[in-house]
Amino acid sequence: MKFIEFFSIAIRSLLANKLRSALTMLGMIIGVGAVIVLMSVGAGLQNMITSTFEELGTNLLMVQPANPEAPGIMGMMYGAFTANLNMDDTEAIGRIRSVTGVVPTNENFVKLIAGNEETTAVIHGSNPDYQKVYGFTMASGQFIAEVNLARRDMVVVVGSKVAEDLFGSDDPVGQRVKIKGKRFTVIGVMEPRGISMFGFSWDELVVTPITAYQARLFSQKTPSGEDAVQQIAVQLSSAEVIDEVTEEIETLLRKRHRIDADEDDDFAVLSLEQMLGTFETITLALTLFLGMIGAISLLVGSIGIMNIMLVSVTERTREIGLRKAIGAKRRDILLQFLLEAAMLSLVGGAIGLTFAWVAAWGVSQIDLGGFSINATVSPLIVIVAVSVSVFIGLASGMYPAMRAARLNPIDALRYG
């Protein structure tokens, strides 16, 4: 009963000076809103990565060259410049049990010219498994086939944006395009797909048979004189066989590359999980960083509450003296002012939460080249936001409330 009374006293105090209450709450609104939006976006980003990863495959391995003399990540970085994988390695890996697809990929960047139009794109030299493993549907025409590979056909499959840039609304299939001065024929167009998890847009990509790529566009040889392969993606029948197949690949390649028992691998076999692990760490760090910035603004908001509460206590010194004179105990006064502070922060937090919810929805609607970040405010976030708001209110209000509670009634009555 007393509690309810105090509640209405607190509400009436806050309503008595609406402008002041609103301005004080602004700090909390911005703080809570910022933290929630930023963390929701961060969570959305993380989810996006996890789901792309799930979509593409827990059952995907990447084999790439590494420099055994450079430690860890640097080994893979510098390894990219060595060329020690070739098509025979690729085929050998393809024959391993539980391997359902093997995709050798060489990558570069080219300008494509068709008539008066030109555009730039990432170019991948690869094989038919590329379509299966990376999950493409064709908007028209067809993907590259085994026979294209065998004949080193100068054919190319283009992404939707490339098709649009070069051919407008015309069907590109059958048309000619010049790459590095050589004439290629378009045999297919891929459905629009947006940004890949690897950083480039699927729509601004073209794919050609790796044999044609090596023979006509970018030639790179291994130390023993064969055409080099930059990366081999390996699709497995299920995620369970990852360790088993990884071991088999390592054994196989060590034998093929004639690596002694005491020497390190000159290649690395990575699961998608490992690769995305780095992305995830970065995104997590980013989310936390953004959250901290938001937390700082929350701190500023709580200082604002403490400041205003102190002013309020001073202004109401006589009132406090009067309340004590007619029987209010210290804890009654303490409770009254704590409630006021808690309500300021709770209402501010609730408004901030609402704004954040709207903002997160807005961010989710933005089309980032074919996909969007699904920033949702989860129930957990709501609970945390509300609890933090109340906590901040109580913490910032504690000092002013204690000062009020400790006032000597006689002196307080004489104030002002």
Binding site: R318, L322, A325, G327, A328, K329
Partner: protein, 223 residues
Amino acid sequence: MIELENITKIYRMGKVDVPALRGITLSINQGEMVALIGVSGSGKSTLMHIIGCLDKSTSGRYIFDGADVSRLNDNKLAEMRNKKFGFVFQEYNLLSRASALANVELPLVYSSSRNSHKRAMEALERVGLAERAKHKPTELSGGEQQRVAIARALVNNPAIILADEPTGNLDSASTAEIISIFRQLNRDGITVVIVTHEADIAAQTQRTIRLYDGKVVSDEKVA
């Protein structure tokens, strides 16, 4: 009802001790109407604060209704103030944002009482202000505001009303009104103690205690 034995009050101002009361011994019985009179600085307000449990004496004993209240803790003193005493101040000290009714109810908030509306209305009726219950203090005259304050002091059925210069801010008509209310309350059985510096107010009580320099210099019954 009230027995003070050698009450002293010394204020510490920096390094100097300022004695406000230098040993007061007196008793006040239930049903008396007493004036505490004296010039500014005589200690009359300090004495009233101690009688009303708003302050503790530095030394001496204060027996109220047979119990020693001199060394009660703050919470107990607050309870005493809530239930046993009713204060009326010179500046009324009403909450300007609340209605007269809400102001009168205030002591009941701190005693967790039921029927606070009803009891507050009864108190307002007693001072003749029932029709103004919804008005805010800014809409009331000085005399009316002081009457609201008296109603507030009455709402918890106190044994004693303590009024500190209750008519200081009022014109002569309102002054007369207020004093006659106090006299009526006294006739109803409530002990009334009025602090004043005006002799004609004191003349309307039954007993005048004069203080000077922290000591009682005279204690006379009024004819």
